[in-house]
């Protein structure tokens, strides 16, 4: 039991925080958001230079051998600065699938390219009616010799519009909600039969609707067992949940600080409004919600490598519930305590609220995960 960072972890945290503090203030972010695709290739190159893009990959695969705690530290900084670059999509999701399911050749082909900043990824798992069930797949993968042919539609593929490669989940066998029979396929951005319609999302990132019409994937694009992709997706999702929890904590922590500062500065009735007990108590409740969320983000990071998959998924779900609950409270109260200024697009607070709101919808909202924890039934065990 130990909550201290190692020297290397502290160094990583300081270097990321230093870089973002220097370059990623709110005004710079606005400019980045307005770029085509909604993120900055320059910042991306700097991430590569700092070693961030290869962080969670094994050294043998061309990475730096970082673990979930390292990812947590990065993600928390990203949350504080509302970073728009496709780190989650490329490194955690795309890279996460390749490192788990890829052959030696596939890993050699893609992981070094990700780490160098030369290739971005997106992960397309959501079908029109699947909501948060990754096993609910209607997009099809039909075997044709050594290749597969993909048909279907994928919704809200985060950074799908700019990704160089898209990993698509598709049904190769079984029926709509079977846990088996799901394959994972790498599709190049310029593949024949692929149509992407991208738009900005509520939080300033971009996501695409992707249509696949007879898209052919050859053997080098099939990731692992073409009927056994679900356990891989679930492991990747849990790693992503841990990263999102930490990102949300970064955002909640900044929004809480911003709100408390505002309470100290804003005067009404001739005094700073932070002197009013009704507002003090609300701010204290935000602090309580933040600390509970921070604890669960650490919990998510430290349990992300739990061996038993059922237990691992339930623990990730528990964290996502707490984050969802805390984020909704802090987000809504952060706006309320700012009053009118919190409603404006030009002010920072609303953007934290919007990002926090979108994080709840990524990889399952609080209610979805609450049901998972309830079914697991043993979060509070004897030890």
């Amino acid at each position: 039991m130990d909550f201290d960072l190692s020297e290397e972890q502290q160094l990583l945290k300081d270097s990321v925080e230093g870089f973002l503090s220097d370059t990623y203030d709110f005004e710079s972010r606005k400019k980045i958001a307005a770029l085509p695709g909604g993120w900055s290739p320059e910042v991306w190159a700097k991430f590569a230079e700092l070693g961030l893009l290869g962080l969670p990959f094994a050294e043998d695969d061309g990475g730096f051998g970082g673990g979930a705690v390292e990812t947590m530290l990065l993600a928390e900084s990203f949350g504080k600065h509302l970073v728009l670059e496709p780190y989650l999509a490329t490194v955690i999701l795309g890279g996460g699938v390749v490192k788990r399911a890829g052959s030696a050749a596939q890993k050699a082909e893609h992981i070094a390219a990700i780490a160098e900043g030369a290739r971005t990824f997106a992960l397309a798992t959501t079908d029109r009616h699947s909501r948060y069930d990754m096993f609910d797949v209607t997009t099809t993968a039909k075997k044709d010799g050594a290749s597969y042919v993909l048909d279907g539609e994928k919704a809200v593929v985060v950074h799908g519009g700019t990704a160089d490669r898209i990993i698509v989940s598709a049904r190769s066998a079984g029926s709509r909600r079977d846990r088996g029979g799901i394959g994972l396929f790498i599709v190049a951005a310029d593949a024949e039969g692929l149509i992407r319609r991208s738009s900005p999302t509520q939080d300033g990132t971009h996501a695409a609707e992707i249509t696949l019409s007879g898209v052919r994937v050859d053997a080098d694009g099939i990731l692992g067992d073409p009927e056994g992709g679900l356990p891989v997706l679930e492991a990747v999702a849990d790693e992503a949940i841990a990263a999102l929890c930490a990102e949300a904590v970064g955002a909640m922590s900044e929004l809480t600080d911003l709100t408390v500062d505002y309470l100290k500065q804003r005067k009404q009735f001739g005094v700073p409004i932070g002197g009013f007990q009704a507002l003090q108590h609300r701010a204290a409740e935000m602090f309580v919600a933040l600390e509970q969320a921070r604890s669960m983000a650490m919990f998510a990071a430290m349990t992300a490598s739990t061996e038993d998959a059922t237990e691992r998924r339930a623990l990730a779900s528990a964290a996502k519930v707490q984050i969802g609950r805390s984020a909704k409270f802090i987000g809504q109260q952060g706006i309320q305590l700012h009053g009118g200024i919190g409603m404006t697009m030009e002010y920072k607070a609303g953007h934290y609220f919007k990002r926090l709101t979108m994080i709840d919808t990524l990889f399952g909202d609080a209610d979805h995960h609450l049901a998972q924890v309830a079914d697991y039934g043993q979060l509070v065990s004897t030890a």
């Binding site: 705690v69 100290k264 003090q280 204290a284 602090f287 669960m296 509070v380």
Partner: protein, 398 residues
């Protein structure tokens, strides 16, 4: 950063659990698990058992009888006791006045009182709150005047928990009325057998008798029973209340109650099926389990942070523990109420020695009293509203 317990910590947990299994009588354990209160003798028996093992005041510094365990081991130890469940330690001695005496008391006081606190040969109670001094504790009026070689105390204390059994009471009394209210208070140790002390019971809404009024009518106390310096009592009181907060999350108690909720929800039914199969009810349990898991980690973070803090200065974030801990204790008792439904109704306060069988299911009889009783936890030890004031001021700087 590592959340898993080390092999040594796991082995330690097993050692504690084995000790409890060997020494805690089954009947007592079952009585407590069913929600009944321990008697005075139960509490004394268990404290003596622990003290014989050297664990009576585990968290104290080693020279005064502590174990030298680190914060994680302390946490494991307390959690095992709460989950057993065993009779709780008498906090007024071991967690409140004991640390005040070994931190601020004279050598003579340490020698005289500390060993008897550890062995529970002296039963202590708390003389802080007054009818007119609750959240505004510093507004207290009980007065101690120096007359010859004695203090003479006059006034009234209230909410004195288990004062009916007490040998000693630690009292906050006004010793200077001419200065700022916090600067004229002293911390005095008073023998409950002193002439002029009257204890009157207060019955609470659960039907129980835990708390009392204590009246002081020209009570003579030797001058040497003053702790530390005259008029510095408020500092010692703040120190004491800060210590109280770190232990106040009671995660183990809520864990034990969640186990009970699940057991009973497998027996009680809704729509002809065990209640535990009802998705909505299961999700309510899950909500509490998740908050409790978060609280457990928050508590461990506060404990870990204490190593780095100045001695005797509690983390203001420990107010989070008080707020969430009390909310979750209350939430678990609410769920128990929901489990038994209409069987909550019979009101039959415990009569010691009665052999009458209970009306309704046996496991239901303590549920409603516990629900009503546990409303106290968001009031005592600095109400949750006071805790929010502390966070706003000490943490957020508002």
């Amino acid at each position: 950063m590592e959340l898993r317990f080390t092999d040594e910590e796991i082995a330690f947990r097993k050692e504690v659990r084995a000790f409890i299994d060997a020494k805690l009588p089954k009947a007592l354990r079952e009585k407590l698990a069913a929600g009944h209160h321990p008697t005075r003798d139960d509490i004394v028996f268990w404290q003596k058992t622990l003290n014989d093992k050297g664990w009576g005041v585990a968290h104290w510094p080693v020279p005064y009888g502590g174990t030298g365990w680190d914060a994680v081991k302390q946490y494991i130890f307390l959690e095992e006791m709460m989950m057993a469940p065993s009779p709780p330690p008498l906090a007024f001695g071991t967690s409140m006045v004991g640390p005040v005496i070994y931190t601020f008391g004279s050598e003579a006081q340490k020698k005289r009182f500390l060993p008897r606190i550890a062995s529970l040969d002296d039963w202590w109670c708390q003389g802080f709150s007054e009818p007119g001094a609750g959240s505004d504790l510093a507004g207290l009026k009980t007065k101690a005047e120096k007359v010859g070689d004695h203090w003479v105390i006059n006034g009234q204390k209230t909410w004195t928990t288990l004062g009916q059994y007490a040998d000693w009471i630690f009292v906050l009394a006004r010793t200077d009325a001419s200065v700022k209210k916090q600067e004229g208070i002293s911390f005095i140790l008073v023998d409950m057998k002193s002439p002029g002390i009257t204890v009157k019971p207060i019955q609470t809404i659960d039907g129980g008798h835990e708390v009392n009024e204590v009246f002081f009518d020209d009570v003579k106390v030797p001058l040497e029973n003053l702790v530390g310096q005259e008029n510095k009592g408020w500092d010692y009181a703040k120190f004491l209340l800060g210590n109280e907060r770190t232990g106040i999350a009671r995660v183990g108690i809520s864990k034990q109650r969640i186990r009970k909720i699940k057991e009973m929800a497998a027996i009680e039914q809704r729509a002809g099926r065990p209640l535990i199969e009802d998705q909505r009810f299961r999700e309510k349990i899950a909500e509490v389990e998740i908050e409790l898991k978060a609280l457990e980690i928050t508590q461990l973070r506060v404990i870990a942070g204490e190593k780095k803090r100045e001695k005797g200065k509690p983390d203001p974030a420990s107010s989070v523990l008080k707020i969430k801990g009390s909310e979750l204790q209350q939430a678990t008792t609410e769920l128990l109420m929901e489990v038994i439904g209409p069987h909550a109704a019979p009101f039959a306060p415990e009569e010691p020695g009665s052999n009458e069988p209970p009306i309704g299911p046996e496991w239901a009889q303590t549920i409603a009293p516990t629900y009503f009783n546990v409303r106290k936890v968001s009031i005592y030890g600095g109400s949750n509203e006071i805790q929010k004031n502390i966070i706003a001021k000490a943490v957020l700087g508002l």
